[in-house]
Structure formats: C-alpha cells, structure tokens
Amino acid sequence: MLCVASDEALLSSLVSGLERADPDIRPLEARTLAQAFQVIDAENPGCVVSALSLADVDGVQFLRQIRAKYDDLPFVLVADRGSESVAADAINEGVDGYVPYEDELGDGAFETLVDRIETVVRNYHSYQRFKDATDLLFRLTEYTTDVLWMFTDDWEETVVINEAYEDIWDRRQADVIEDPADFLEGVYPDDRPGVLEKMEVISGGDPADLEYRIRTGDGVAWVSVHAEPVLSDGEVEYVAGFSREITERRESTKQLEALVENLPVIVFTLDADGVCTTSAGAGLEMLGLEPDELEGLSIYEAYAEHDDLVDAVDRALDGEELRVTLEVEGFVFETWYRPVFDEAGNVVEVVGVSHDVTRLKEREDLIERVNEATRELQNARTGAEVGRVVVEIIESVIGCPVTAYWRYDDENDRLEPTAASEPALDIGDNDDVSDLPHIEAGHAEMEVFRTGESRWVRDYADLMNPAHEAADLGRLLLVPLGDHGMVNIGHAEPGEFDDFDRYLVEILGQTATSALDRVERERALESRTAELERSNESLQQFAYVASHDLQEPLRMVSSYVSLLEAEYGDMFDEEATEYMHYAVDGATRMQDMIDALLRYSRIRTEGDDFVEVDLEAVLDETRRSLKLLVDEGEATVRAGDLPRVTADRSQVGQLLQNLVKNAVEHGGPEPTVEVDAVVEGDRVHLTVADDGPGVDDSQHERIFDIFKSNSDGTGIGLAVCERIAYRHDGDIWVESDPGAGATFHVTLPAVDADPDPGLDPQSAAADGGHG
C-alpha cells in the first residue's frame, strides 16, 4: 500500500490511520510523483492511496501519469469535501475509489477508506485473474493448428484471428487483420462462389459448414470450416468459426474414390424405395453406364426385366443381407447387398457392391464341363479309348484343336500315336493316327515323358532332337499320363491357352492316369479271371472224366468178383471168400470216394442261388438224416437259437450235416455236440463243438484238405465244408485244446437287414424242396 501526500500531517495521519484500521496493511510513503514512481518500481504495491494534491502535481494528474505507466494499478483518491469537481475529473480518468473527508481524517473516514481499498484490491485481483486467463486462452489459440477467427457481421473488420492462418493460408496474419477480404484472396477461384454463398448464410443468422480449397505456395490445400453467427439482442453482431486443414483426409478419400472408380466393381447405395442414390466403379462402364447415370433411377424400373435382381433388392430392403450371382447384359455379377438400419430397426438404405465374376463363372462352367466329360473315362475299357476321350475333351471342351495321345509301348521303349484330333493329323498331312511318327528313346518328347512332369515347350523348333523334325508345332504342352503315355497339345498361341487351361489339362491328365491305371488293373484281372475259369473248367472236365473212367474198370472188378462168388462160391474155401469180400469192399469205398470227388468238384459250378435259409430248419433236417448215427452213438445234439443266413440251402444242409456228423464221430463216449450261431455284422458265425479228444495243433489246417479228414467215410467231408464256406465268401477254421474237444467255426453271409425286394420268392420256395 502506497500512501502519497505532500502534506506531512495528512500523510502520517493516512499511514497511522490505515495501520490502525487494518493491521495487515503495510503502508509505504511517498511525497512526490517521482518518489511515488520509485516506490512502485521498487516495492510493487497492490494499491495507491493518494491525496488530491501533491507537491508537484495535483491528484488527477498523478492518476493520469500512474495510468500511463501502470494502467491497471488500483488507485484510490482521498479528498476533502468541496473538491467534488476534482473527484468527477478523477472518476473520468478511471480512478478506482474516491473517499471524501470533512476537514480532518477521522476514524470514520479511515474505515470507509479501508473498506474502499479492500473492494478496489479485490476487484483488481479478480480482474488480474480474468486477464491472466484471457491471456492464456489467447496464447492457446496461437498453439492450435486450426484457424480461429471472428469478423464483424458484414465481414468488413477482423475482430480476432490467430497465427494458424499463416500456416494454413500461407498468407500474413497482419494482412487479414487489416482486411478480412485477404482470406478470400486465398480461396481457390472455383470454390469462391460457394464460400461467398455460405458467408451470406452466416451473416443471415445461420451456422454453416463448408469444405473448400485454398491456394498455397506449393499447391492446393483443403480446409473444412465451421462457422456460427454471434448474436447480440437477436441481431447478428459478429461471425466466428474455425477452419481446419483436411488436405490429407481429402486426399485419402480421393484415393479411395479413384480406387473405386478404377476397380471392376459397382458400388452403390439405394434408398428405402430402391432408388439409386450413389453409384461408382469401373463396373458401370461394362454396362455402358456413366458414373452417375444410375443415380435417381429406381432399380425396379431400370431393371424391371431382371426378376432375380428385383427379388434380391426386395429382400435387401426387407432387411436381409445377401449375396447373389446373376447375369446382366451378358456379364455375370456377384452382388453383396447390405441393408442399413435406423435406430428403430427400419431399413433406411441398402449399400451394395457388385463385382464381375463372368470370367470366374466361365471357368467354373468349363471345369464343370470337363468334369462332366471325364465321366466318360470311367467307361473306357482300353487305353486307346482313354486316349481318344482325353483328346476329344481337350479338343472340344478345353478348346485346343491340335491334340494327340501317344501310348507308351514298354516292349519297344517308345511312344506310339494312339489318338489324334483332325487338326493334329492335318499338320503333317496324315490320314490316320498311325501315320504320326513314333516318339523313340532319345527324342526330346521322350525325355519329358520320363520325367513324369508336364512341360511347356516355348517353340518346338528349339527342341533338341524332336520326334517330328519337320513339323512346325510352335508352342507345345506335353503332359505325361503316369507311365501309360503322354498327351501333346500343340500350336497354342500365348493367350489362347493360359495357365488355367494348363491346370485343367493337368487335372484331366491325373484323371486319365487313374483311368489308365484302372484299365490296366481290369485287364490284368480279366486275364487272371479268364485263366482261372479255364483252369476251373479243365478241372471239372478232369474230375468228371476221371470219375467216370475210373468207375468203369472198378465196376468190372467188383461185379465180376461178386459174380465169381455167386457162381463159383461153393468151390472156394472160407479164406478165399474173405479175400473176395475185401476186394468188393475196397472197390465200394473207392467208388464212394470217386463220387465224393465228383461232388466236391461241382460245389462251385453246380450250386444253387443264394436264398434266405433258416438254420433251425436245416438243423432239423440234419438231425433226421443223422438219426441212426446219433442214436447208435448215444449222442446228444444241442442247439441254441439259430439265425437265418443267405446261402445255397442245399449246400448249407451238407455243411451242417458234415460238421455234426464229424462232431458225433469224433466226440467222447456218449458224445455231446453243441451247435450255435450268432449274427456278427453282416456275417453269421456258426460253431459246432464236440467233447472229444480235440484236434492236434499240427492238424488244424490239414483236416480241411481233401481225403485227410474222415467225417463222411471218404475223407472229404471237411474239405467239402471248406469249399462250401469259401463259395459263400465265408471262412472255416477249427479251435481246439487237446482233451477239451474241438470247435469248428464257419462264417456265412447274414440276412440283409433290408432284404432285397428283388429276391425271387420262387427260387427260395423251389430251393426249400431240396433238403
């Protein structure tokens, strides 16, 4: 607190009065203007209390000088009554407080003075804070990269504009402060009308947003402006706003637009009525459309004849996101429709992207056609046929006219022409495929064949030692088909035959290779089968002839021995008679064996058709026919529930009879035979167990050999069983622990869960009569 007065009494009274009134006040003293300036500079007081008149100047002049130097230092004037006119001058000069007093400064006057000083100081402080904040704010505007500005409503005067103007506009701040029109100078000429239009809008009282270009030293920049009118009493007083540089954003948007415009796609939006609101993309050009030609058109009208397109738009507008492939103007487009919903869930817009999949579709179709065509390979019976089909597919479906197939002849180690298209024959004026040259060892093509990998030959003339030396085949694709042969595709110009075609040919090559493998396997199988059939046939023939031819001499032996006995028996002694019995017995057994052999040989060839057979019924028949044997041996035959099988009924009867008979004969004393069968998947597992001494391990295989077992007296019973099991695609084996009996196992086809309705009931019934 600086107290200034030239009157000593007044000064000391001020100082002591103030100290008395408020102990926090530290009064300083000054008696002249010069002295006051010294103290202010040295002590930086918060307030000046001055008497009206000083030694060198009066109070009002002092105030004026203080204001000139310290424009916001609070100043309180103390004056005696009667100097009101001076006080009025002081107030005009911006004095912060005025305290009058009567003659002398009384205590009341000091209280008023202190009160006034406090108010003044408080105001001073809040003003200081406001001033600091304003300063800070203003400094901040200098830091922002946006241009902040305020002009008068007529755009004639600049109220404020920050330094960012210089960066963005690339023009001087001082110039725009001088004249707001400076910023317009910077606007890109084409965009100026739009800017002027918006300026009027703002002056008229509405906010506005605008993006426009400005010319800068090194080109063009984009700015985005948001502006608002500033109203006072309902009238537009100022216009204010900020301008931000968005060149980069605009550039990337532009790049995106350029991208869309050049991509073979159509990007579009449709409003809720199906009217196109935007459309872009190079795909439009394919349809003969200008970039914005679709805009404003209803899809329902523009594409009314495309039911599938209209349907897709319907569905999208109903809220479905969908992807459809459809043909328009000869092109196939795949279009993705995506509805855009508002907060209430209504479709407000549909956005879509179509891209051209015509080529893709063509390729798909081609693959499909090649696939279709390769089915014929499955029917090919010979390698030559496979070759013909492959050449045909490459010529007509894939579209390479010059095509031929060479088959590998491993005996002569060369490739021989087997199939060729007409254009391929025409190259060397050949009439027939056999006129084409062979590809021998040493020829370039043979080397490719040996690698097993397909190969492009850029120019046939470049090949070392080609097979068609004179032929001008140009570009050539060689595709080996495993070790079976090779397909040669010639005269394909680049572009005519692309990697996709090559890919197709290679796939076809793989399929053809499989077909050739199959043909080879089938041929081998056929020849083995034929060989087997021949050998089987001769075996039949042999068995028949042998049995017949063996029987005749045998019958002679036995007949005449018995005739000898009948006519001359009384001349023989007992021993001679016994000899003759042995002779007859031997001949009889031999005949049985021959008969058995004949039957055995006929199991495979003379069998009946397979029918559904009830094993229970078969077992009943077996019990009946073996009754004598079972009764004599005091045997017991037990059986569980037996399922049905699919078999030759007569043969299954024979099988079961042989096994049961074998079990009775090889069982223990008063033998027990157990017959059981269970279904295991598509097989029935039949077991026949006895309680005899069992079968030695070494005999498990041998007992099924012909004449090795002794189940039917001829040693052929189990061999017959084995042959019957095999004919039924089944198996037979024996399991035995020595001393614990033997169990014979047989598998036979089960009855199909879903019986073939084509099964002839007649044959089943007729067969039923056999057993």
Partner: protein, 147 residues
C-alpha cells in the same frame, strides 16, 4: 406200340463195355421177362439199328433201349437227343445207364427227356436189382393205354 405178355420183349443195349454188356445179359436172363437182347457197341450203330439201316435192316424195331452214355463215335447223349427228336423213334422208351448218381445229374441237366435213369451197380447182385427195376419200368410202360 403194342405188346402182349408172353411175347419176348425186344431190347436194344447200346454199350461199348463187353463186361457190362455180359452182366446185363446175365441179369436179364435171370429176370422174369422174356426178352431178346440186341447189343450194339457204339452210338452210330445204335442209330443204324433203330433206323433199321444196313446190316440191321431186318432187325426188329426194339421195344426198349438201354443206353450207356459213354460210347465211341457217338455218345449216349447224342443218341438220346436224336431219338427224342425223331417222330418215329421218340415213343420208344429209353433207359439211360449211368456210372454214378453224379453223372445222372449231369445228363438230367441237358434236359433230354430220358424215360428213366439207372446207375450201374458195382456188383452182380446190384445188377439183378437193376434188371428188376427195368422190368418194373417195362411193365409200367405196357400198362399204359396203347396210343
């Protein structure tokens, strides 16, 4: 064809094995039916006999044929086929003599319509049984009403 009891039955035996032929002859002699047995040793001769050709021109047409299957020149199957396809001969009963039951199955499978099948036995007693069967068969034939 008529036949009355008492008149001998004319039998043609086509058999290339003299042993079998002898046994058949012997067995027929021991049987009840009076018969004249004529033996030919192959199929060609059998057909000539049946057709009364050449040396057999004056032989009687047989009432019954006993046919062995395995013969030289023309086997039993062919003879049977020709007989059954010939309208003059088809009514003559033919008994096929087979070496085994299995062989009988085979000849049946040709579907040649023999009137009966007999398996040749392996001893003389069996032959007597076979002859008994032939006689039985014969009687059943003559009991049939004349056509």
């Amino acid at each position: 064809m008529t036949h009355t009891r008492g008149e001998p039955v004319e039998i043609l035996l086509a058999e290339d094995n003299p042993g079998d032929a002898k046994l058949t002859r012997k067995a027929l002699k021991q049987g009840d039916i009076i018969n004249n047995l004529h033996v030919v040793t192959d199929g060609v001769k059998a057909m000539s006999y049946l057709n009364q050709e050449g040396e057999y021109a004056d032989r009687p047409r047989p009432d019954l044929v006993l046919l062995d299957l395995n013969m030289p020149r023309k086997d039993g199957r062919e003879v049977l086929k020709e007989v059954k396809e010939d309208p003059d001969l088809r009514r003559i009963p033919v008994v096929v003599m087979t070496s085994s039951a299995a062989e009988e199955d085979i000849i049946r499978s040709y579907d040649l319509h023999a009137n009966a099948y007999l398996t040749k036995p392996i001893d003389f007693d069996g032959f007597l049984d076979v002859v008994g069967s032939i006689e039985e068969f014969w009687l059943s034939v003559v009991k049939m009403p004349p056509e």
